[in-house]
């Protein structure tokens, strides 16, 4: 293949999936494939990012995503540093601009940010020389989650194009939903979203998805089902009356799963509410559930993202 056709990563930051091309997405997934093997070695470490500094800036609590990034950074031999909202100046009223300027003064190479408000990674990316990786900005995007989900689907189905993917739950407040919709549509999947009408955002069809208001309709003949976490505090905002009723309407049970394809895989970004959006026998089902594999693949995908972004920094230097 001529060199000109080889996809190259040219972005300083990974802020979302919306702005990526299919080729860029495939590049991350293919790169993740090559890092996957590192996690299976007895010595799980490569020197790729030796001497690079990565700051994990978590303004919102997160166990899974932060640990996953941290493990990815360590396996790549990067020097990493964790800031979290409770332990830093962030809780002392420092503005985000000042936080950004102070970080910049320490010359990190990459910053991984999780924040409750959409657009905050974009705000930092504009001001920092460091590459910025969005690890979740409010209900906007969570690009590495969508990439690890796609990686997991590819492992099982060998492709994304032509699959029917049902995404079920609190559509309005989910960053996982948005990043996944962008990615799956760009790679040619058919996406059906389902959830209570009170949690369905305005004009969702504009994102290229079909909308269903019953679980049965959404998952009929589905190849992949993604269940979204229901945040229980939504109940107080009149979005649903009770957990019991939510489970009756949209909880995924083994009996309901029969409507999907026989080889359907069931995914969940975690943390799960067993008995709210998903029954335990589905969550733990060895033939359908790939929920823990998602976590495993998360490390490979994040290694790929860190590697690609650090490479851009290298060339710019």
């Amino acid at each position: 293949m001529p060199a000109a056709d080889t996809p190259r990563w040219t972005r300083k930051d990974l802020l979302g999936i919306a702005e990526l091309s299919p080729a860029e997405i495939e590049l991350v997934l293919d790169t993740a494939e090559s890092f996957r093997e590192v996690g299976e070695r007895p010595i799980k470490k490569v020197p790729t990012l030796r001497g690079k500094t990565v700051v994990n800036l978590f303004f919102e609590s997160s166990t899974r995503t932060r640990s996953s990034f941290e493990i990815a950074e360590k396996r790549l031999s990067a020097d990493s540093l964790n800031f979290s909202a409770s332990s830093s100046s962030l809780s002392k009223g420092e503005s985000l601009v000042d936080t950004a300027l102070n970080l910049q003064a320490m010359a990190p190479d990459l910053i991984v940010i999780r924040h409750a408000y959409p657009g905050t990674p974009h705000f930092l990316a504009r001001r920092l020389k460091a590459g910025v990786i969005n690890a979740g900005d409010g209900a906007h995007e969570h690009p590495t989650q969508a990439l690890l989900d796609a990686f997991t689907i590819r492992q099982h189905k060998g492709r994304i194009a032509g699959l029917k993917v049902a995404i079920v739950g609190d559509i309005e407040h989910s960053r996982v939903l948005r990043s996944n919709v962008h990615l799956l549509r760009k790679l040619g999947a058919r996406v059906v979203v389902a959830g209570p009408r009170t949690m369905m955002p305005a004009a969702i069809e504009a994102l290229g998805v079909e909308v269903a208001y019953s679980l049965a309709e959404a998952i009929r003949d589905a190849d992949v089902i993604m269940m979204l976490r229901i945040q229980l505090e939504r109940q107080s905002r009149m979005l649903f009356p009770s957990v019991k009723e939510y489970f009756q309407l949209f909880g995924l049970t083994r009996a309901r799963l029969a409507a999907a394809k026989d080889d359907v895989i069931v995914m969940h970004p975690g943390p799960m509410n067993r008995g709210v959006e998903i029954a335990s026998d589905v969550a733990d089902s060895p033939e359908h559930s790939v929920i823990l594999e998602q976590v495993t693949h998360g490390v490979s995908v994040r290694m790929a993202v860190l590697y690609l972004l650090a490479g851009v920094r290298e060339e710019a230097a």
């Binding site: 503005s95 601009v97 657009g119 905050t120 705000f123 504009a206």
Partner: protein, 429 residues
């Protein structure tokens, strides 16, 4: 007593008299004294050569936040009226959400005494609907009217209680004051930071639904039908609210409305295009394209009475934060006229005379202000326009203390070329 001023050689556009043509204008004793095709300068008169310029009744911005008293770091009467003069306005009506609130005569008089000291445009204070903008007790409209208010509004906050709105509509009639509503149902709007629609869905930002405006105006119009009086919709932003106002006018209700340049020129997509710039965050929010088109139609068919900027200055530090945390609002005094000339008149969406009406005659009528006309006997307030002047919006050159605008860098053709207030040419230092 100032010298008479002859404004000669300009194209006079005065919708109040249906005039559009070459006329000279003589200003004496603070009033327009003569309007004729050709006038000789009387003895001792000064002459203003207006050839190549449009001469219009002084533009009035009926929705401005001067921030004084209380938030002088954002704007003052002095800096705000300098911005008005630079932007082609001869008068502004300033909102009551100062600190302390303009809910009593002493604050009204403080604003006006500051205006007498240093203002370069007329200042018309708007009093609060309710004491402390708390939405509970009526403020003293009579006292404030004697002090000089021209309308009442809790702007920044809606009059949420239907009972208070009904009382305000009734009581304001004793003083001939319009009740100006910032129409927003706070329950529907709770937590929202941008228009609820495709872009809030894409960006995951909490939405401010158009319905929050619509239900409030629908309710108020039902009340107005019973109470009589005058009701004015501030910064009208949705297609459905516009339709409500259109039908209410057809039924003969005493309703008027204003729209802002940003709602006429930008949509919710701007939040993404600007990568979450907080200069795209205001209330009401930038709406969908269908709403924008409806507002343009409302300009053309006469439903809209005024274009007003909702000039809302904020300090750069307050705006340079996460989108969700930033205060709502943008400045507009120094961008409105040039934007309207280039984006509304130049492409032919409305005629120049209609724009002049929306910026002078219309707002004067809505708030029963002097001005808005160049008939002999009217106040000698003029706005001069240069329709060919290239304008590049540059926040560094603003007279306002604040810089929060999404229009920085826009290149336009046509803009203000000076103002005359009370027969005196305004010159800014």
């Amino acid at each position: 007593m100032s010298r008479p001023l002859l404004v000669a050689g300009g194209r006079l556009v005065d919708p109040s008299q249906g005039l559009d043509g070459r006329f000279d204008l003589l200003l004496e004793d603070g009033k327009v004294s003569r309007v004729e095709e050709r006038l000789e300068a009387p003895e001792g008169a000064e002459t203003l050569d207006a050839s190549g310029l449009v001469v219009a009744p002084g533009f009035i911005d009926i929705h401005v936040h001067l921030r004084e008293p209380g938030q002088e770091y954002k704007e003052t009467v002095e800096s705000g009226t300098a911005a008005a003069a630079a932007g082609g306005f001869t008068a502004v009506a300033c909102m009551a959400n100062t600190d302390p609130v303009n809910d009593n005569r002493s604050v009204t008089e403080l604003i006006l005494s500051e205006a007498r000291r240093c203002a370069t445009a007329r200042v018309y204070p708007i009093g609060a609907v309710s004491k402390g903008l708390a939405g509970e007790e009526l403020a003293e409209y009579g006292e404030m009217a004697r002090g000089g208010i021209v309308a009442v509004s809790d702007d920044g906050k809606p009059v949420q209680s239907a009972e208070l709105m009904r009382r305000a509509l009734l009581y304001a009639q004793h003083y001939g004051l319009p009740v100006v509503q910032h129409a927003e149902d706070l329950h529907l709007a709770a937590g929202g930071v941008m228009h609820e629609g495709e872009w809030s869905t894409r960006l995951g930002l909490p939405g401010l639904p158009g319905a929050a405006e619509d239900v409030m105006v629908a309710r108020d119009l039902l009340l107005l039908e019973e109470t009589g009086g005058r009701y004015h919709v501030a910064h009208l932003s949705t297609a459905r609210t516009l339709e409500l106002v259109r039908r209410a006018k057809e039924r003969g209700l005493g309703v008027t409305c204003e729209v802002t340049p940003h709602h006429l020129l930008l949509t919710d997509e701007e939040v993404w295009k600007s990568q979450f710039s907080t200069d795209t965050k205001m209330k009401p929010p930038l709406r969908a394209e269908a709403d924008r088109q409806a507002l343009l139609a409302g300009l053309a068919d006469g439903t809209v009475d005024a274009i007003a900027s909702d000039h809302a200055p904020h300090h750069a530090d307050e705006k340079d934060v996460e989108f969700s945390l930033a205060p709502f609002g943008i400045v507009g005094l120094e961008t409105t006229v040039a934007l309207c000339l280039d984006r509304l008149v130049r492409p032919g969406l409305i005629a120049l005379a209609r724009l002049v009406e929306l910026l002078s005659t219309g707002p004067a009528r809505a708030f029963a202000l002097p001005g808005g006309s160049l008939k002999p006997g009217s106040p000698a307030d003029l706005t001069l326009l240069d329709l060919e002047r290239p304008v590049k919006i540059d926040t560094a050159a603003f007279r306002s203390k604040s810089r929060n605008t999404p229009f920085h860098g826009w290149e336009l053709t046509g803009g203000p070329a000076g103002t005359v207030v009370g027969g005196r040419r305004i010159t800014l230092p």
